[in-house]
Symmetry: C2
Subunit: 130 residues, 2 copies
DNA sequence: GTTTGCCTTGACGTCGGCGGCAAGGTTTAG
DNA sequence: CTAAACCTTGCCGCCGACGTCAAGGCAAAC
């Protein structure tokens, strides 16, 4: 399979696949004329990459998952390195959820106070107009 | 007050203040030699900018708050434009919280399954070793 | 005078995951 | 023969809030 076909089947672009290769995530063979040649297993790898990216992983974090798949595992998750990344990412997400919750709280209060202030000012203005 | 003093009192850098100026958020006078001259009120403005940036606002979103302060209000929050931005940002944060919660859920499940799989494999390996 | 420490503008670098274009080679179809 | 549709490498652009020089002007202390 050449790059165009893999791109289409994986729902991405050739540019993206070349970028993944430059980052060491995929390493296709080359045919006589220099064209990249991928085997079927690479489709699975690209799908794994895309799924993890969608969840918010960076390419560096994804590397262990790809290695895990290449090692012959049915899932990219089951190797120790992948589990370590999953744990770290879960912790990061929890942390971010906390901070984002605090931000939400602050925004909510700030909005409530701003509206209260405006109503108050409005009332004073009307009472002066009376 | 010149740029160095304002930077120090605001806890930021001169580069940052010049950047804010290039973005139209602050507009200092100039002394005879071309130096920027800020008055005391600008310190408040810079603090407002920094606080909103820390919460996750972009400079574009911050502009109405600065205008509100310049209009003489005791708080940058109380003007209609600011309130509109606050509402939008709150909605954005809520949305992001939802998605991040879903991601957390997925990560949690994925991690649990990976660990379960590893324990299972481990048990099978030991039983073969028996 | 000269060193020191402010200030000025301008322009390029950063991070990540690509998009897009240029300039060319290859292969297939008509 | 030629057009069309692939492929190759390489390099610039993007976004946002700055950091980091570079090259020079201005001011006060020694």
């Amino acid at each position: 399979m050449r790059i165009g076909e893999l791109a289409e089947r994986a729902g991405t672009s050739t540019r993206t696949l070349r970028y993944y290769e430059s980052q060491g995530l995929v390493c296709p063979r080359r045919s006589a004329n220099g064209y990249r040649v991928y085997d079927e297993a690479e489709l699975r790898v690209v799908h794994e990459i895309r799924a993890l990216l969608a969840v918010g992983f960076g390419l560096d974090d994804i590397r262990p998952f790809v290695a895990c798949l290449r090692a012959g595992n049915s899932s990219g998750d089951v190797c120790p390195d992948s589990v370590a990344v999953l744990r770290r990412k879960l912790a990061e997400v929890d942390d971010y959820l906390d901070r984002l919750g605090a931000v939400r709280h602050q925004l909510h209060d700030q909005l409530a106070r701003a509206i209260a202030h405006r109503e108050e000012t409005c009332l004073r203005t009307r009472s002066r107009a009376d």
